[in-house]
């Protein structure tokens, strides 16, 4: 069954306007095709858990190392499977597009990551993810695996702190907790440093254009080409403010204003993250203004990261993440990583 060609044919017959542009084969296999491609392209690094969209380190868990598992809905590539690798994650659980994976899948991820020293789950703060990973934790504990969970909630677009979403800051949690685990820390210690990152990291994003759900062919939000959304999520959720497109410095200034209101420490790592459809050229261009604005406010950028790290399908836009760092966090940021999405 070729949902893609059907999709286009139906639309053409109905003389409907088609907005979606996607390289795909069959919407029902969209996620497994991505996962298969990733594993095929990195055969020495990744392995798929038979029959499931769960990716693990080739060769399995490392004995006596704390295992790191993340995941969530798909559509955020290279997150989360692209962060598997020595120094970062051990397994990633890939749900349907923008839909949390099920507990049985997460359980398989936990089993794949468990080397006897327990497993830390890095969960983004969405009801679905929290519930499914929670149920999986219960199941894993029944099987005698020690499991801890941290929940990332870095998106300051959301006023109410309890509802804050996990977005690009999650990648810093993967990197730092991954390095701590690789250095031989215990489950408690790894959880502690992950929570330290979570307590510090803040993000905010914007979009020039929406992303399209592969199955429905519909955009997450409507947006005229001359307008943009400020404060979007990574699932096609519209933002908190819609306004005319502006020069990137003005956009960056608005995001930086919000972020710096919450980040008082001045020594920071900065991530300018693309939303999937943003060319790296525009990300570097954006970084120029972001770094200028931050420096004007007295921040010292000790580690800059620019790239498509936590995306929303083909959405065109960016987010800024600020992470105040100390020597411990810096050391973990700089530690070696073989993950294809974050090579150090």
């Amino acid at each position: 069954m070729q949902v893609l060609s059907n999709y286009y044919n139906i639309k053409r017959n109905q003389k409907e306007e088609i907005d979606m542009d996607k390289l795909m084969q069959d919407a029902n296999r969209f996620v497994s095709d991505i996962v298969d491609g990733l594993v095929l392209a990195h055969p020495n690094q990744y392995e798929k858990v038979e029959g499931l969209n769960v990716v693990k380190r080739k060769g399995g868990a490392i004995a006596d190392k704390v295992g790191l598992v993340s995941g969530g809905g798909s559509g955020h590539e290279p997150a989360h499977a692209g962060y598997i690798g020595d120094g970062m994650l051990d397994a990633a659980v890939c749900g349907e597009v923008f839909t949390s994976p099920t507990p049985d899948m997460v359980l398989e991820g936990i089993k794949a990551a468990d080397g006897g020293a327990g497993v830390l789950l890095v969960v983004k703060n969405y009801s679905g993810d929290v519930m499914n990973f929670d149920m999986a934790k219960d199941l894993a504990e029944l099987e005698g695996i020690q499991v801890e969970t941290v929940v990332v909630n870095d998106d300051i677009s959301i006023q109410n702190e309890e509802d804050r979403r996990g977005v690009a800051g999650t990648v810093f949690v993967h990197k730092i907790a991954g390095a701590a685990a690789a250095s031989g820390k215990s489950l408690d210690e790894v959880k502690q440093v992950a929570d330290k990152v979570i307590s510090r990291v803040r993000s905010m994003g914007m979009a020039l254009s929406p992303c399209y759900m592969p199955e429905s062919g519909k955009p997450g939000f409507e947006l005229p080409d001359d307008e943009m959304w400020i404060g979007i999520g990574i699932h096609g959720e519209k933002g908190v403010e819609r306004k005319a497109v502006a020069p990137v410095k003005d956009i960056a200034a608005q995001l930086v204003e919000h972020l710096t209101a919450e980040v008082t420490d001045k020594r920071i790592a900065v991530m300018v993250n693309g939303m999937g459809g943003t060319p790296v050229s525009e990300l570097y261009l954006t970084y120029k203004y972001v770094s200028e604005l931050l420096e004007q406010k007295g921040y010292e950028i000790v580690r800059p990261y620019v790239g498509n790290y936590m995306t929303a399908l083909e959405m065109h836009g960016f987010s800024i993440t600020l992470l105040p760092v100390d020597e411990e966090l810096l050391q973990y940021l700089d530690a070696s990583s073989k993950a294809i999405g974050f090579l150090v």
Partner: protein, 201 residues
């Protein structure tokens, strides 16, 4: 009002068909105040349930049937709605274990347990514009003489007017007043189909 294995099976199959019918509507509501996948999620789940029901048509125990449905939903839906609907059916199973049918207090106890299960799984309560706002009044109405259908319709109308404070819809605040909660709509579809078999059997 009595819920037999056969009646619940019939209600579930009817729900699966109705979800297919309203799949786009559910998804479009979720695009407005969520992430645009609720119809897709519910369709995947209830098509899974339909398949299981068709494969295992010799079940005679309401508890077994509920557990099968709950586990299927948990394993196929994902997202927020998967654990919530899954938990509801698993909770039915704990109350209807070894029963071939449920009525009166037993029937109520099952729905009470399911609703509490949804609330504790979701850390949610009535008034937050979620599926809870359908399940809770429905369950209460089982102990009264009111028409279940009317109760559901009223609950739907009430839910629509609420401001969301839970789940993805909560990001959109006041704006959500104008839009129905997708999980409330899908819950109304399921519970109406159950009400239907309760009233006519």
């Amino acid at each position: 009002m009595k819920l037999t294995v056969e009646a619940l099976r019939r209600a579930l199959l009817a729900t699966a068909d109705a979800i297919e019918q309203q799949k786009d509507e559910l998804t479009d509501l979720d695009r407005e105040i969520g992430d645009g996948d609720h119809g897709i999620n519910m369709s995947r789940g209830f098509q899974g349930v339909k398949k299981e029901l068709e494969a295992q048509n010799s079940l005679t125990d309401l508890g077994e049937l509920s557990k099968l449905v709950g586990m299927t939903l948990i394993k196929t839906v994902g997202g927020a709605s998967g654990p919530l609907y899954g938990t509801a059916f698993v909770k039915f199973a704990t109350k209807w274990k070894d029963k071939q049918s449920a009525e009166g207090e037993d029937l109520f106890a099952g729905f009470k347990e399911a609703t509490e299960g949804i609330k504790s799984r979701g850390k949610s309560q009535v008034g937050q514009k979620t599926m809870v706002d359908i399940w809770e009044p429905f369950t209460a109405a089982l102990q009264t003489d009111t028409s279940l259908e009317k109760v559901i319709d009223q609950a739907l109308a009430d839910t629509k007017a609420m401001v969301a404070t839970k789940g993805r819809a909560s990001y959109f605040g006041e704006e959500t007043k104008a839009v129905q909660d997708p999980g409330a709509l899908s819950s109304s579809i399921l519970l109406k189909n159950i009400a239907e078999v309760l009233l006519h059997d």
